[in-house]
């Protein structure tokens, strides 16, 4: 993306100090292993983004030859005032927040269950991570045709009725599919958090007669805070880009009920050929992501510091 993201904290886990001795040659010996990856990343990710920024200042529809001319920030005005774009923005927030919040709650409950010892724990864990591993397009197709279908879908098959779930409740249908796929992700992060909690302290609290609920709310949740933050932020960064489920289950519809920004931009490029406008929308998405990502980096830095302190 951009290197504009300000580092939350200089102090991540410290590797051995960089020795100051040794001249230019030593510095280049150190840099050499890094350079191929760095150059590759700059060419493949930064250059297209800069070109997108340039495109975003053009009035450019691929269907009108010769329409490519500089219009400054006009596309941004269009994007920010256009009803479709605004509804796409609102849908993006609803779908992302809905999926993150529900998968977080379920993930926390499952992580607490898995943190206990019981017979077949590793089998249950394997079952629980399975939805995350199913190819997202396959999962979306499975939910659309196998579960939401009004005539032979699993929901109506078990509970009766003839509701067309994906068209009657499009946002809920998308969110449910995403929650099913992303709960394992949240669960794994929160489980790692639970297992990093010191057993001795918990045991001592139990000896002091604190009940399970009190231990959970007073000790476990505060300890989990940064893992919850990390899960929410990484989850948001991945889920803001949701495309597979929308493309497959609702095609953004009915109407524009489930059209989020990625799907809107996809349509603007590949159905309307409004390249300038699509680029401006893309830049807007990047700016929104930077805001979320800045918080994410702060959390990640915080976790590295905790690791160091232990």
């Amino acid at each position: 993306m951009t290197d504009v993201i300000t580092r939350a904290d200089e102090q991540t886990r410290t590797p051995p100090p960089v020795s100051r001795k040794g001249g230019a040659r030593d510095r280049w010996v150190r840099r050499a292993p890094l350079l191929p990856a760095l150059v590759f990343a700059i060419i493949v990710t930064q250059v297209p983004f800069l070109v997108t920024v340039y495109f975003s200042t053009l009035s450019w529809n691929a269907l009108r030859p010769g329409s490519k001319k500089f219009v400054g920030l006009d596309n941004y005005v269009t994007v920010l005032t256009d009803d479709r774009m605004r509804s796409a923005l609102v849908n993006t927030v609803i779908l992302t927040a809905g999926a993150v919040i529900f998968s977080m709650i379920l993930g926390l409950a499952l992580a607490v269950l898995l943190d206990r010892k019981f017979l077949g724990r590793s089998i249950v864990r394997t079952m629980l991570i399975t939805p995350f591993l199913i190819m997202p397009v396959a999962a979306a197709l499975l939910w659309k045709h196998g579960i939401y279908n009004p005539d032979y879908g699993l929901i109506n098959g078990i509970f009766g009725g003839s509701t067309a779930w994906a068209t009657s409740y499009p946002k809920t249908a998308i969110i449910a599919t995403l929650v099913w796929q992303w709960t394992p992700f949240m669960m794994l992060i929160l489980l790692a958090g639970l297992q990093s909690q010191s057993n001795d302290v918990l045991e001592a609290a139990r000896m002091d007669g604190a009940n399970a609920w009190r231990i959970f709310t007073r000790m476990t949740l505060p300890h989990l805070r940064q893992y919850l933050e990390l899960g929410a932020l990484l989850g948001s960064i991945y889920l803001v880009n949701t495309f597979d489920a929308i493309f497959t289950i609702t095609q953004g519809g009915p109407g524009t009920a489930t059209t989020n920004l990625p799907y809107q931009i996809y349509q603007t490029i590949f159905s309307k050929y409004e390249y300038g406008e699509a680029s401006a929308a893309g830049v807007v998405v990047v700016i929104l992501t930077i805001i979320v990502a800045t918080f994410a980096l702060r959390v990640i830095s915080g976790l590295f510091k905790v690791e160091e302190g232990r």
């Binding site: 951009t2 292993p33 629980l128 190819m135 980096l297 990640i300």
Partner: protein
């Protein structure tokens, strides 16, 4: 004390049952998919659903009869080559950001993670136009390059977290023994991080195999990957759901296996190495 201890054991068992039920509910759609793929055509679209039936493999046969091979080969090529390229680029870079760090290693590290956070929609148009321009659209090597850049930050962060676990004492002991740089990398570092390297590769493989957005926009007929094959499978003909389920089971299988194998390291990859 024994009273509370056995009481806790009973509670643990009860919660264990709850966990089992939750696990079965979560995995159930996948089981449903598997069941559907094994049903006779007449049992697929019934309401209420048929639970007991004579299994058939005809839908799997149908999948293999519908020209799946090029899609599988494309997915395999994209996954294998991009994963190899990622490992080759990321491992030395991670080394230069951990054990023998460059001066501004924090800046570099955060630069890489920030490229991962860029929504791919914001870069797809220039890439699309360029690939059309130079005749590289619908080419599997274009996909290899793009998937490499998609997974590179994750691999660097993950490999770095594994490299930092190599104890300093071991490295210093190697230096005292007069082991050169190359020798200490080969004899000491690589063996110690190879489980981490394998986990990193598996996670890159998972993400590449499942990728859809770039594949749907940058491929047509030659370079289409497995997810695109699935979409083509939705047709009007007959009860397609069973064939679709069979294809979905088959195409999800490689990643399911990779994920189950790597499950202990999965969380580390997903959190960029921040959580162990």
């Amino acid at each position: 004390m024994t009273g509370t201890a056995s009481g806790r054991r009973v509670a643990d068992a009860a919660w264990g049952v709850v966990a089992w039920i939750a696990g079965i509910i979560f995995v159930f759609p996948v089981i449903w998919m598997l069941l559907t793929s094994l049903k006779q055509a007449k049992d697929v679209t019934t309401n209420p659903p048929v639970w007991f039936f004579t299994p058939t493999f005809e839908h799997f046969a149908n999948v293999f009869d519908s020209n799946i091979t090029p899609f599988l080969l494309n997915s395999l090529m994209a996954s294998v080559f991009s994963t190899l390229l990622v490992v080759v680029l990321a491992t030395p870079a991670a080394y230069a950001l951990s054990l023998r760090p460059v001066a501004k290693w924090t800046d570099v590290l955060f630069f890489f993670i920030s490229t991962k956070m860029m929504p791919v929609v914001a870069a797809v148009l220039p890439v699309y136009l360029l690939t059309v321009e130079i005749g590289m659209k619908d080419n599997i090597w274009t996909m290899v390059v793009l998937y490499t850049s998609m997974n590179l930050p994750l691999a660097i962060w993950m490999m770095r977290s594994f490299l930092l676990e190599v104890p300093r004492e071991v490295l210093e002991a190697g230096e005292v023994d007069g082991a050169g740089l190359i020798l200490s990398i080969r004899r000491i570092i690589l063996p110690m991080v190879s489980p981490g390297l394998a986990a990193t590769a598996l996670i890159c493989f998972i993400f590449t195999w499942n990728e859809f957005f770039l594949a749907v926009n940058l491929t047509d007929t030659n370079a289409s990957t497995a997810p695109i094959f699935l979409l083509g499978f939705i047709s009007g003909r007959g009860p397609f759901l069973a064939d679709l389920s069979a294809a979905a089971v088959l195409l999800s299988l490689p990643v399911l296996l990779a994920g189950w194998v790597a499950q202990n390291k999965l969380v580390r990859g997903l959190s960029m190495g921040a959580v162990k």
